[in-house]
């Protein structure tokens, strides 16, 4: 028989806090504060003998923004991000729809197909694409065997290879939010539209598509942000010809020890991402306005 326990009001309020404080403290100390470090670092001066110097300057920003090489890489990175986002949406939506509506008994297996690339690791997946896209790789071999090409195509170390691999990497990231969204749409809505005379196509465009806009919005933003900041895939497959901002930043930090300049580039990339996403939100706001 336990002794009757009285809990003081203070204990009742503060007791549970012990559950959340460690996590919050960890994130604050090692996630929030470090981000201030980037901002501070970007204003520091460069130094020949150390990663960064003692005083502060704006020069890294001005140099980067006026350098055509750097801006070219930024433009390519954004273009790549846009392209990858569009392609994953076009390829991913049908898969998400199929997975949401299919009654096949292979549904679980297909779900694994979508999920497992995510968990296999970026280096491994990009390596897989190297095998396929290299000069003697599977793709070129197949094309030659089918008689479609005379000499191997340049599928790697350029924008094409990076695009293909990035699409592969981020397809699950668009399929999964879409899947959740479509599954939540009441199937009777589609039946209702058909009973009112709408063909399958019309039902899709007038009912299913509008109602899946939140999923589309979430998925495309996720894929865009992730693909413009991707490092591993452009680094392994892009070579010198298809450098992206992340590759350049890491080069500055690790190879050249130019930390302030690297920080400035990272911030420029982050800022561009935020602006693009905000614009996108504004433009698509109308489409989700009508939804519950």
């Amino acid at each position: 028989m336990t002794v009757a326990q009285t809990i003081s009001p203070a204990q009742r309020r503060l007791g549970p806090l012990v559950l959340i404080v460690p996590a919050i403290a960890l994130l604050f100390a090692f996630f929030v504060l470090p981000y201030f470090s980037i901002i501070v670092m970007s204003f520091r001066t460069a130094s020949a003998s150390a990663p960064y110097g003692d005083s502060y300057t704006l020069v890294h920003f001005t140099t980067a923004l006026s350098d055509s090489y750097t801006m070219g890489i930024l433009a390519r990175t954004l273009g790549l991000g846009l392209l990858v986002t569009v392609i994953t949406l076009i390829l991913g939506y049908p898969v998400a729809w199929h997975l949401a509506r299919t009654k096949s008994r292979w549904k679980g297996l297909l779900y694994t197909f979508v999920l497992s690339p995510l968990l296999v690791g970026l280096v491994v997946r990009t390596f897989g694409w190297m095998i396929i896209l290299s000069k003697n790789g599977v793709a070129n071999q197949s094309l030659a065997w089918l008689g479609l090409t005379d000499s191997p195509l340049q599928l790697m170390n350029n924008n094409l290879g990076v695009t293909i691999a990035l699409v592969h990497v981020f397809l699950p990231f668009i399929i999964l939010p879409l899947l959740g969204n479509i599954q939540a749409i009441n199937p009777e809505l589609e039946s209702a539209a058909r009973s009112l005379g709408a063909s399958r196509t019309k039902t899709f465009f007038r009912v299913t598509l509008p109602l899946s806009m939140p999923g589309i919005q979430a998925g495309t933003i996720l894929v865009f942000v992730l693909s413009i900041s991707a490092y591993v895939t452009p680094a392994m497959l892009g070579g010198a010809r298809a450098k992206t901002m992340s590759v350049l930043v890491v080069q500055y930090l690790v190879d050249n020890f130019r930390w302030p300049a690297g920080a400035a580039l990272a911030l420029i990339l982050a800022f561009t991402a935020i602006v693009t996403v905000w614009l996108y939100f504004m433009l698509t706001r109308n489409m989700t306005r009508r939804l519950p």
Partner: protein, 266 residues
């Protein structure tokens, strides 16, 4: 069935099938090629052999890298597991109006690109004087990235949890601690296990943070593979990858048996 498939249906299913194949192709290729008895990463494979796994086993670098990855992932999983579960319990049960804000905050490491977090931690570690010594920064980075996964999975299983079970226990005389241990914990175990498994796999695959924050002389498996591929392009890399893939597959199978893949949250 009298209804035959229309042309659009056929086209649709073809596209969908093509995408499924596209998703699995590189992974399947790697596994096949890792068993190649020939020297090159080419098709068709010459024969079946485990020689490249043997090469992997003999390579001290790779073995060290695997062990480091396992260690880092293990520590990250334990720390994230405890912190994330506690945070989830607080958020679902005690947070009240702050719930939405806290949830968003705890999820932010997932929403922000990992490369930026890696850079931020690098600068921060140096500024507080720790630098990359002992790879502490790397370990912390792994914990920060894996925490949201645990939090999310535990929080979800708590949402589906019926409070009245705890109230019943209390009315029968169980103290809060006993209730937690004998009623709550067993019921949220699936969520905790899912979250921890996720944390482990994610940590094992982390690249950007490991790249920037690893100490001298340490390396994790993804980094080692990345470096290897800069110079060599042979089936050893495929063997390494196959090991990584197998680990993931085992983890997925465990998850599916335990909780069913459909209940996972990202």
């Amino acid at each position: 069935m009298k209804q035959s498939r229309s042309a659009t249906e056929v086209m649709f299913l073809t596209i969908v099938s093509a995408v499924y194949i596209f998703l699995m192709a590189p992974i399947v290729l790697i596994v096949v090629l890792s068993l190649n008895s020939g020297e090159f990463l080419l098709f068709p494979i010459e024969g079946l052999s485990l020689r490249w796994f043997g090469e992997l086993y003999a390579s001290q670098q790779f073995i060290d890298a695997i062990l480091t990855s396992l260690q880092v992932a293990g520590i990250a999983t334990v720390v994230s597991g405890v912190l994330g579960t506690a945070a989830a319990i607080y958020c679902v049960r005690h947070a009240g109006r702050m719930r939405g804000v806290l949830r968003l905050f705890l999820m932010t490491p997932l929403l922000i690109p990992e490369i930026l977090t890696a850079i931020a931690l690098l600068f921060y570690m140096y500024q507080i004087g720790v630098g990359t010594s002992y790879s502490i920064g790397m370990q912390i980075g792994h914990i920060v990235i894996t925490l949201p996964y645990v939090f999310m999975n535990v929080a979800t299983s708590l949402f589906n949890f019926d409070d009245s079970v705890e109230e019943a226990a209390r009315s029968l005389g169980a103290s809060p601690v006993v209730t937690f241990r004998r009623v709550t914990l067993p019921l949220i175990k699936p969520g905790v296990i899912t979250g921890c498994l996720f944390a482990f796999i994610i940590s094992f695959d982390i690249f950007n943070i490991s790249l920037l924050l690893k100490g001298v002389g340490t390396t994790t498996l993804p980094i080692q593979l990345f470096d290897y591929l800069r110079w060599d392009f042979d089936p050893t890399a495929a063997a390494v990858s196959a090991v990584s893939i197998t680990m993931t597959l085992v983890a997925i199978l465990i998850l599916d048996r335990f909780v069913g893949l459909r209940s996972l949250r990202f």
